[in-house]
Symmetry: C2
Subunit: 417 residues, 2 copies
């Protein structure tokens, strides 16, 4: 068998490629959204077959230690036995019914008991649902219109916030004023621009813009946001969709000592089951009764049962501390390897949500090359997006990942010198 025939055979056995070809016919561009592998080097798989703990298998049968965690939702480990047991118990009763099950009340009570600023909550399906509801509650409660948003922050993919505005109207972004994240002066300036029409300030838990060093929230910035809202009556909205339940179980700004009026949670809340939550302070309770928002599946009992089990276990394990330790082990290993191979990198973000960027890498060529080399060696990293640790990232998994990244750094050193 010659090389060409071997390659053909490899192609024929490439289930991922075959699926991508089939998808080209029935999905515009073959895929859409944040999980579109066309946004990654071609070596990345698009389709996945299964997952367990911190491991994920692509459809070609290769497995990886996974540092994307389904882009955040997986916080305890894929198919966590306790969450799955709660799901099975609820599933034997029912899921979509003519109203909620008592899991709704239990979960709203749990959120109020866990998150200091939370007096009440509303549930939904998407992170975008939650950020949109926060904005509506703020406008209903204040009777005002302007919202202050950080430049380049991601708050979801509805017309008012999608980062690619094709198909939306300029009117969808009416009454938005932009500030720079962690820049208290720019926030004050934006607030001044809003005058007496300020409904809300919205901020992500940290600065996690794609392809840019991540920044934890600056305490003075957070305090300034709080002070502006206290002074004007506007709502301080924390978009905790990406970071929620990884940094602190009481909300990600607890570490900065600043409490929002409204928070948007989703991703990690139910270890992969579809759920989003808006949590709010009493000051906005009445406003929350005025808006009308709902969805066919918002009262499903299974995701709520999964959320209760997830929060229970995150508390029992002290999940944020566990993930921080795992993330630090990974970060320290990466730092030592980079140094030993003479490769200059920058690591940012909290250890639970790391980002690795390379010096002198304006086109992220090195970053992509490194990630592909790691992928070949059994580790799934992302070159420009926030990554995620989970409670299933044991020392053994981290060490396995570090074996692979050592080879990847060697390859980077060999290629880029």
């Amino acid at each position: 068998m010659n090389v060409a025939a071997k390659t053909d055979q490899a192609g024929a056995n490439d289930r991922d490629r075959a699926l991508r070809e089939r998808a080209q016919r029935v999905i515009p561009g073959g895929m859409w959204g944040h999980m579109n592998a066309a946004r990654l080097p071609p070596e990345y798989p698009q389709y996945f077959a299964k997952a367990e703990g911190a491991r994920i298998w692509d459809v070609n049968g290769r497995d990886y230690v996974d540092f994307m965690c389904a882009w955040g939702p997986m916080v305890l480990g894929y198919r966590d036995p306790d969450v799955e047991a709660a799901v099975r118990t609820q599933s034997a009763l029912g899921d979509s019914l003519n109203g909620p099950s008592e899991r709704l009340v239990e979960l709203a009570e749990r959120l109020a008991g866990t998150i200091p600023h939370c007096d009440w909550s509303l549930l939904a399906k998407n992170g975008t649902d939650a950020t949109t509801i926060c904005l509506s509650v703020a406008r209903a409660g204040t009777g005002k219109r302007k919202v202050l948003i950080a430049h380049k922050a991601y708050h979801g993919a509805a017309p008012w916030c999608t980062p690619y505005p094709a198909g939306t109207l300029p009117e969808d972004r009416a009454h938005q004023i932009f500030y720079d994240y962690n820049d208290a002066a720019s926030l004050e300036q934006a607030a001044a621009e809003a005058g007496d029409d300020l409904a809300a300030i919205i901020a992500t838990a940290m600065r996690h813009d794609i392809g840019r060093d991540h920044e934890l929230v600056d305490r003075r910035f957070a305090e300034t946001a709080r002070a502006i809202c206290d002074r004007t009556g506007a709502a301080l909205i924390l978009d905790d969709v990406r970071a929620g339940f990884r940094l602190h179980l009481g909300g990600s700004w607890e570490r900065a000592g600043v409490r929002p009026d409204l928070s948007a949670f989703s991703k990690a809340i139910a270890n992969g089951y579809a759920l989003a939550a808006v949590t709010g302070a009493d000051r906005f309770r009445e406003a929350a009764t005025k808006i009308f928002t709902t969805g066919s599946f918002w009262f499903q009992a299974i995701p709520m049962a999964a959320a209760l089990a997830t929060l229970d276990k995150l508390h029992a394990l002290d999940g944020p501390a566990l993930m921080e330790r795992a993330g630090l082990r990974f970060r320290q290993g990466i730092q030592a390897q980079a140094q030993s191979h003479g490769v200059k990198i920058r690591q940012s973000g909290p250890p639970q949500m790391p980002l690795i960027l390379f010096e002198d890498d304006p086109e992220v060529t090195k970053s992509k090359f490194f990630c592909v080399e790691a992928l070949k060696r059994g580790v799934y990293l992302h070159p420009v997006h926030t990554m995620f640790l989970s409670c299933a990232h044991t020392d053994a998994e981290i060490d396995r990942a570090l074996e692979a990244t050592d080879g990847a750094f060697a390859a980077v050193a060999a290629k880029f010198g």
Copy 2:
């Protein structure tokens, strides 16, 4: 034990009431959205414990033959064994992963094979996601802005379409022009008003405004919508969220012989699992690649596996015909009972999605009274909203329901004469 003590004891054992009281503390107004029992007479339960087939149990242990089907999603029967088996199989592999499983491709192929106008599809979680995506695709594809919407039609609960605008901005409804459903002349007039800026016409599968006799789509109206879009290049968007997969597996306007460019599906697509789909014709394929929309849980494999099993079974059973027969049996029974009790009613909507209204009932007093009497006798109906039949509504379940409604009509006759 005296009567007061008995009542107290009954109250103490009223789990639904206890849950409502707890919810008052941690959920604004105690509940929100379309499943808020505050919108129904006080006898209706808010919380449900379990469901099976066509039966639902409230938290107080009472069971009902259910004519709401979780407000539409349940189309095969609660906990349908074939759907649940597909869910278990997928669940053993994984659900939220770093990308889709091959269920995505299978489902997109299945939709293209089932729905004549569908060349491609995109998936999401909420019906509102799907209608919103349709609108964005239409605007991206046409480069135009105006959308024609029927007065009082429900297209979801995002700021651009929520029926209660508290917390939204006038700008959220920019470039909307209204027509009367089934009134071809009003549609032509709205199109004229849009001039050369027409992006889309959106229409629900039928007229199903709350509290109003339902109307099937008028063929001439549908043809006029199609003709306007053909003439102007605008997109004809069918909002098939509520009716999809109950009236016709190829899309609800197949019966009218008119094909949309884009359709929004959700509710019944996966028998209760959270999924929505946009299906589109080739003309809008490129536009669909331009927009950016996504969600953390949009690529979950379990709901897609559930959708495949649901569509398989709906085909195998000829679900729409089965539900039509069950609906007709119910409708004919209701009609005979009303007549025998001398109660004047109007039944509307397709048999699979019935609505029962009473003559001389401007405040829907009779309708609510009737529904409460039916509820007491073990049947869950809705006084003003579209109801839903499922494939689990066997003759025996319909006949059991009719025994209860006979008593309810007798009570109406006794009270209102």
